[in-house]
Amino acid sequence: MNPNLNLWLIPLLPLAGAAINGFWGKKSSRNAVTAVALFFSGAAFAMALLVALRFSSLALPYHEFFAHWIRSGNFTADFSFYLDQLSLVMLLVVTGVGFLIHIYSVGYMWDDPSYYRFFSYLNLFMFFMLTLVLADNYLLMFIGWEGVGLASYLLIGFWFTKDSAASAGKKAFIVNRIGDFGFLIALFLLIKHFGSLNFDRVFGSVMPLGVETAGAGLLTAIGILLMVGACGKSAQIPLYIWLPDAMEGPTPVSALIHAATMVTAGVYMVSRSHVIFERAPIALTVVAIIGTLTAFFAATIGIAQTDIKKVLAYSTVSQLGYMFMACGAGAFSAGIFHLMTHAFFKGLLFLGAGSVIHAVGGEQDMRKMGGLKSFIPWTFLTMGIATLAIAGIPPLAGFWSKDEILWKAYQASPVYWAIGVITAFITSFYMFRLLYMTFFGDYHGAQVDEHGHGSHGHASHGNDDHGHGSPHESPMVMLVPLMILAVLSLVGGLVGIGDRFENFLAPVFGAREVAEAGSRRTELLLMGISVAVAVLGERLANLLYYKRPELPQRIADSLDGLYEAVVHKYYIDELYAAIFVKPLIDGSTRILWQGVDRNIIDAAVNDAGDVARQASDEVRHMQSGNIRSYAGWVAAGAAAVIAFMIWMGVR
C-alpha cells in the first residue's frame, strides 16, 4: 500500500500563486509579489523533492485519484495523477529549473511595470506544465498541453505593446494549434479503438498487439498523429518556425518555456507513448527522420544568426531534434536524459544571455558586443561552462547525453549518426562563435549607447535604464541561479555513467537488450569522434571569430547565395507565407469575407430589413391618428371577416 503523496498539491500550489498575484498583485508591493511567486513555486519544488526522497519506497507506478471529471458510459477521464520514473524526472526538472528561473526573474524583471503580471503568468505556466507531466490520462495531459501553450502565448506577448511581440505570440499559438489538431485526432482514435485515454488502460490494450510490420496500421496512424502534436509543441520540422520568433518574450521566459521545459513536452509525450511507438516502426522512423533533419537544419541556421537569443533558439530546436532522433531510434531514455541535461545547460545559456543583455542595456545583437568577459566575469564563466556542455566536451552534462543519443542512433542507422555528428560539429561551432563574439575581442557597444540603442526596440524592455555607461555585472539574485545551473551542467551528466540513468528509467521503457559484446570498441571510437568534432568546432570558431575576425565576412561573400539563404533561415517563413498564409488571407478576404459574409449573409439581413422598411412605409399611412379612420379600418376588417365566412359558408 502506497503512502499518500498528495501529488495534487504540486500543480495546485503554483496555480494558487498565479491566482494571488493575478488578482491582487497589481496593488501589492514588488516584495509581496516576489514572496508569493517564490513561495509557491519553491513549495512545488520542495514537494517534488519530498516525492523524490520517498520514491524508492513506492510501488510504481503510483496512482493518485483527485476528483471526478468525465464519466460517460464506459469512458472515464478523471483528475488523477500518475507517477513513475519518467514523471519523476520531468517533475524534478520542471520544478527545479522553474524555481531557479523564478529567482532569476526577480532580478531580471524588477524594473518592469507589469512585474506582478509576469510572475502570475510564470506560476500559471508551472501549474499547466506540472499537470501535463503528472496526468494519468491523455485528456488531462492535453489540458496541461494546451495550458502551457496559453502561458507561452501570454509570455511571448508579454510586452504586447510591441507589435513584433504580439504577432510572435499569435504565431506561436496558431502554429501550435496545427500540432494540437494532430494530437487531438490521435486521442479520438485512441478513444474509438481502445475506449479509454487512461495510460494504463490504453497501454494495456496496446501491449498484446503485434508490431505493425506490414504497411501502416492503426498504431502507425496514432503514432504519426501524436508526432504531429509533438512537432508543434517541440518545434520540429515543419512546425518549428514559431520558436525563434518566441524570443520576443522576456529572456527568463525563453529560458524556462522555450528551452528548458515546455518545448520538451513533445519529447515527454512521445516517450510516454513509447508502447504505441514501439509497435509502429514506421511512426518511429518518421520521428527519427524528423528529429535528425530538424537537428541538422536548425543548427545550420544557427551559424549565421547575429541575435544572441536567436542563436540559442535555433540551438534549442536543433537539440530537440536530437531528442527526437533518440526517441526515433527507440532509445527513449537517452532522449529523456538529453532532455534533462539540455534543461540545465540551455536554461543556463538563456539566463546567461539574459544577463549579457542586461549588462549591455538591452542590446541583443552580438556584433555590438564583444570583450564582455572582463566586465561580467561570472556570467562569462557560467556561460562558458554551458557552452562546453552543449558542445559535448567531456565530462560535462551535454557530452554524456549527446553521446548516448549518437551511440543509440548509430545502432539504429549509421545515417542518423553521421548527420548527428555533423550537427554536433556545427553546434560546437556556433556556440563557440557566440561565446567569442560576445565575450572576446573588443567591446563594440559604446557607440550603440550614443545612437539610441540600435534597432532593437528595447524601450519596452525591463532593463532599459541600465542602458548607459559600461557593461556591468548582474545582481546576485540573477547570478546565483546561473551558478547553480552551471554546477548542474558540470555534473548533471554523471548520472548517466554506466547506463545508470537508463537503468533507472528501465521500468518505464522496458529493459532493452544490452549492447552487444565487442561493440564497446565501436562505442569508444564514436565517443572519440564526437569529442573530436566538438573540439574541431571550437577551433574553427576560435580561428574565425577570435584570431581572424575579418575572415567570416570574406567567406560569406564567397558563398553569396548560400549564405544569404542561411541568414534568411532558408526563406522558410517566406515559403510558408506564400503557400499557407497568403492563400488563407486571400481566400478569407475574397471568398469568405467579401463573398460569403458580405454578399450573402450581410446582404440577406440587409435585404430583409429593406423589405420590412419599404412595406411599413406603405402601411404606416393607416396610422393617421384620426380615430374615425381607425374605426373605418375596424369596420372594413369586420366586413372582410364576415365576407370570408359567408364565402366559406357558401362553399
Binding site: 391618428g625 384620426n626 380615430i627 374615425r628 374605426a631 373605418g632 369596420a635
Partner: protein, 100 residues
C-alpha cells in the same frame, strides 16, 4: 308571421346606418347616437333569433345589452360634457391631444 330574414335585414340596415354615422359624423353626440343605433340593431337580431328558435337566452342577452348601453350612455354623456367644458368643442377631429 314575418319571416326572420326581414328582421335581419332591418337589423343589418340599422347597424349599417350606425356604422356609417359613426364614420362620417364629426359631432361627438351624433357619433354617440350612432353607437346606440348599432347596439339596437344588434338587439333586434337577438330578439328575432330568440323568437325564431324559441330560445330565451337571446332575449336575456338583450337585457344585458340594454343595461350596458344605459351605463355607457351615462358615462359617455358625462365624458362629452367634460370634453365640452375643457375644449369648448364637440368636433372629434379637434379632440386630438394624444396625436403627435
Amino acid at each position: 308571421m314575418v319571416p326572420l330574414s326581414y328582421y335581419l335585414l332591418l337589423s343589418g340596415f340599422l347597424f349599417g346606418c350606425g356604422v356609417i354615422g359613426f364614420l362620417i359624423k364629426r359631432n361627438i353626440i351624433t357619433i354617440f347616437m350612432s353607437i346606440e343605433l348599432m347596439l339596437n340593431g344588434v338587439n333586434l337580431s337577438f330578439v328575432a333569433f330568440a323568437a325564431h328558435w324559441h330560445a330565451l337566452s337571446g332575449q336575456v342577452f338583450v337585457f344585458f345589452v340594454m343595461v350596458v348601453a344605459a351605463a355607457e350612455a351615462a358615462v359617455g354623456l358625462a365624458i362629452i360634457i367634460a370634453v365640452y367644458r375643457t375644449r369648448e368643442t364637440l368636433n372629434v377631429d379637434q379632440v386630438n391631444l394624444l396625436k403627435l
